[in-house]
Subunit: 300 residues, 2 copies
């Protein structure tokens, strides 16, 4: 962990997950009282109060038909919940473009609580049926499981977390960054890709860098990780080295990829702070673990 | 990566995943010829040849009703496939106890190829229906995706990889290890648990150590990772430090947890090599990333 860096966005919630309560229906039931707090959501977006923090209501604010997921205990020992509202179920609504501005207002601990809740609620909304037999499933263990209601199947399903590698590569003191077609103008960032069954983190990094940029990487090391609730990734930030800087871009994945000097990376990171935006590229925002990778590299 | 250590088991396959072919039905079709190789499986277990390696057949050896997944290209450029046999679908057969002995025979690269194929085939066998709408799904992109066949839904589903943290903790030069009820006699290993939505690797490590052993951990660092195909985990091996050695064991998770001296850990690791087994505990086997964590700690 990087003591000198700004906090990793979406980490650092103050909610205690209180795993022992999830499997104890009596304890969970006791917590679902008038003191319990319900995270207010607008669809899947956070609702932000006048104090700039997340807004909470009581369980009475939930749709009577909603499923409730147990987020954990807040520092006062109150049960914290979120509702899987019927309107969310099966929804394929695109992300709200104002979401990023809303999230930027939240204190880091609230952003982390929101991110975890959003990933969990969204998983329930998109996982109503048993992948094994096709039967309907029901919420179990306070929302940390769904169980198939078919007595002949009874499969257990767990909220999904998808590991993603995201990595910077260094060659001759330069850093490899790329831009995806969906990026804002001038933005370059670390390359990234999902870890697949049957590969280590280090193998996934090497495969993605070669697939997307044609660069062979060695000596991969871990730098930092971040939960990323879009929809439910675990970003695993790494750094590696290349001996041959020749780039072959996979145009189905990237608009461009190129090597930037240390001075260009430093300038771009400073640009972000002062809003100047006249450097060689626009650096990834502080929200992103890629921002931390660039910061880590500059400080090496 | 640890150059001095034995290879991480289940990593290091020689199969090129050839991602670009998965999305090109014409190229995939061309590869499905008489030169293509089919990984032979006995249920989900490997079939081992006289040379001690994995046995391969041709596509003609697959059940005519099987789905075929594209593993990638072997070093000769041949397409390598595995079959999702009808008998596997929806199966809940327990793991074969002879599996570990069979896997121990395989060269490391073959073990990695088998592990990745096993995780992928098993995922297809257990994911026949759309979690969003309950409709049947069909194999897509050479087996790296399933698509909902319901025209009104068309959800895309991807093979699952579950990140798991596994960690050693150090306090006053001693190492915290625990034993699960299912372990063989005298075995102690690193504590472990799934990463949940909304937490970083470092947060998951701290939560699991506190939940299972009541120990507060700081300064968590990454050591090594491993694909673990039971059924499809990504083991993320870490090391952390504790200031207070007081242990409170969660008896629902662990039979025991205790601190071992460096000499006890060294003795136990040496025991494994020479088959002596008279130390303070039985160390985790070389297959397990926990073995690498203990080895890494001794070498510090």
């Amino acid at each position: 962990m990087m003591a000198s860096a700004p906090p990793i966005a979406f980490a650092g919630s103050m909610i205690d997950r209180a795993d022992h309560i999830r499997s104890a229906p009596d304890k969970l039931g006791e917590l679902m009282n008038w003191r319990a707090r319900l995270l207010l959501l607008d669809g899947l977006d956070p609702v932000i109060g006048d104090d700039g923090g997340l807004m909470w209501g009581t369980l009475a604010d939930a749709d009577p038909l909603a499923e409730l997921v147990f987020l954990g205990l807040n520092p006062d020992g109150r049960g914290c919940f979120a509702a899987v509202a019927p309107a969310l179920i099966g929804s394929t609504a695109p992300p709200n473009p104002r979401l990023w501005a809303a999230m930027a207002q939240l204190p880091p601990a609230d952003l982390a609580t929101y991110g975890g809740a959003k990933a969990l609620v969204d998983w329930h909304a998109r996982h109503r049926f048993c992948a094994r037999c096709g039967h309907a499933t029901v919420l179990a263990k306070g929302g940390w499981q769904r169980g198939c209601a078919n007595e002949a199947c009874k499969a257990e399903h767990f909220p999904r977390v998808d590991p993603v590698t995201i990595m910077t590569v260094e060659c001759d003191g330069m850093l490899l960054l790329g831009r995806q077609p969906r990026f804002p103008a001038r933005r370059y960032s670390a390359l990234a890709g999902f870890v697949e069954p049957g590969e280590s983190v280090e193998e996934a990094v090497a495969r993605e860098i070669f697939e997307e940029a044609g660069v062979r990487v060695r000596d991969v090391r871990y730098v930092a990780s971040q939960p990323w609730p879009f929809p439910s990734s675990l970003m695993i930030g790494c750094h590696g080295y290349a001996d041959d800087p020749a780039i072959v871009i996979d145009k189905t994945e990237l608009d461009d990829a190129r090597w930037f000097t240390r001075a260009e990376v430093e300038y771009a990171m400073n640009d972000l702070k002062i809003g100047r935006e006249d450097g060689a590229f626009l650096a990834p925002p502080p929200f992103a673990v890629a921002h931390h990778l660039l910061k880590w590299w500059i400080e090496q």
